[in-house]
């Protein structure tokens, strides 16, 4: 019995390594934009647990810079971290972003502004997800109308990331003809494992586009 499971382990390991090598290119890469360090850390963790590669930036401007969308003049602005390679050239050259997740309320450029800039650029096919700690129906429909794929309410949970899976897969289909089925299975498995002990105190207040009128319910607080 033990020997068999050992062999299975080794095989699984080898398979995983091979998959990882193949998927180095095919791992979903998400650009996370949030001015709050804590929220960036959380989002990064949530995404990593969901098997995504993550790049975090702290503002809309930095996001645009990363995507190479700032005007030529500003690209030379002093940046402490030049960890991302030259992004001035077209997106096909090594920079691949499968999804952008951005906070709505940020000083300077808001998530909504960022959304508009992205949708008006060569990155317009990349799904953009907005997040906010405030449940404001008009804000949500505004973003969805502008082309946001989803509007998630903070604090984010693993189940929210599950909702994003189909959008990520859609983006992979656009940019890569290779078979991504194994990738999909892997991600689904990871999520299933992570959500096995999902708490039942689900206070999901997320709005779906179909019911914009639903009144926000705050746990423990009277609805004003």
């Amino acid at each position: 019995m033990e020997l068999k499971s050992d062999i299975e382990d080794t095989l699984t390991q080898q398979k995983q390594q091979k998959q990882e090598q193949q998927q180095e290119q095919h791992h979903f890469h998400v650009l996370a934009v949030d001015d709050s360090l804590i929220d960036r850390k959380l989002l990064e963790k949530l995404l990593k647990v969901s098997s995504c590669q993550v790049t975090c930036v702290e503002s809309g401007d930095k996001a645009l810079e990363y995507l190479g969308l700032l005007d030529g003049l500003e690209c030379d602005a002093t940046l402490s971290s030049s960890s991302f390679s030259s992004t001035q050239s077209s997106k096909q050259e090594g920079l691949r972003v499968n999804m952008i997740m951005t906070d709505y309320c940020m000083p300077g450029m808001s998530g909504y502004d960022l959304l508009k800039r992205v949708k008006g650029s060569s990155w317009k096919d990349v799904p953009v997800v907005l997040m906010s700690s405030e449940n404001v129906p008009s804000r949500i429909s505004m973003c969805l109308e502008e082309g946001a794929e989803e509007f998630l309410l903070k604090p984010l949970q693993l189940s929210d990331l599950e909702k994003l899976q189909p959008h990520l897969l859609k983006s992979i289909d656009h940019s890569c003809e290779n078979n991504t089925k194994s990738n999909k299975d892997k991600n689904v498995d990871d999520d299933n494992n992570n959500c096995k002990s999902n708490n039942k105190l689900s206070k999901r207040k997320a709005m779906s586009p179909e019911t914009p009128e639903r009144r926000p319910k705050l746990k423990g607080l009277a609805v004003l």
Binding site: I38, K45, P155, S197, N199, K203
Partner: protein, 154 residues
Amino acid sequence: MEVGQMQRRLLDYTKTLLMEGFLDGQFLQLQQLQDESNPGFVVEVVSLFFDDSEKLLNDLTSALDQPSVDFSRVDSHVHQLKGSSSSIDAQRIKNASLAFRNFCEEQNVEACQRCLQQIKQEYYLARNNLETLFRLEQQIVAAGGSIPMLEMGF
């Protein structure tokens, strides 16, 4: 104390925090995100929050002490506090922040200052609670046990 007892104590303590409104389901989500590759994740994020908040609270105190209070600045600080406290599930701080924001809108300096006092108290309470929680966890791990997860069923 043997590991089983320590684990039960931890679970009871967590339940108490939940029932008294210090924590909500979000904290459990955070714990679920923690794994062997990053065992200090929750402690790290929570510590970040407390350091961050301490600064925010200081900023708020001096902002409210100004002869002419800049309410939009105060409001944006409180918004930050509200956001981050809800991310790490410091429910009472979050709720107090909500009340604070209302007073900000009314531009009521005195009420804001009172609210700020309350938030500071909640802040110290929350910090103590979570430090106790983490200490209990550490003891369990040191004794070779694993941290039990609370099942939400009550």
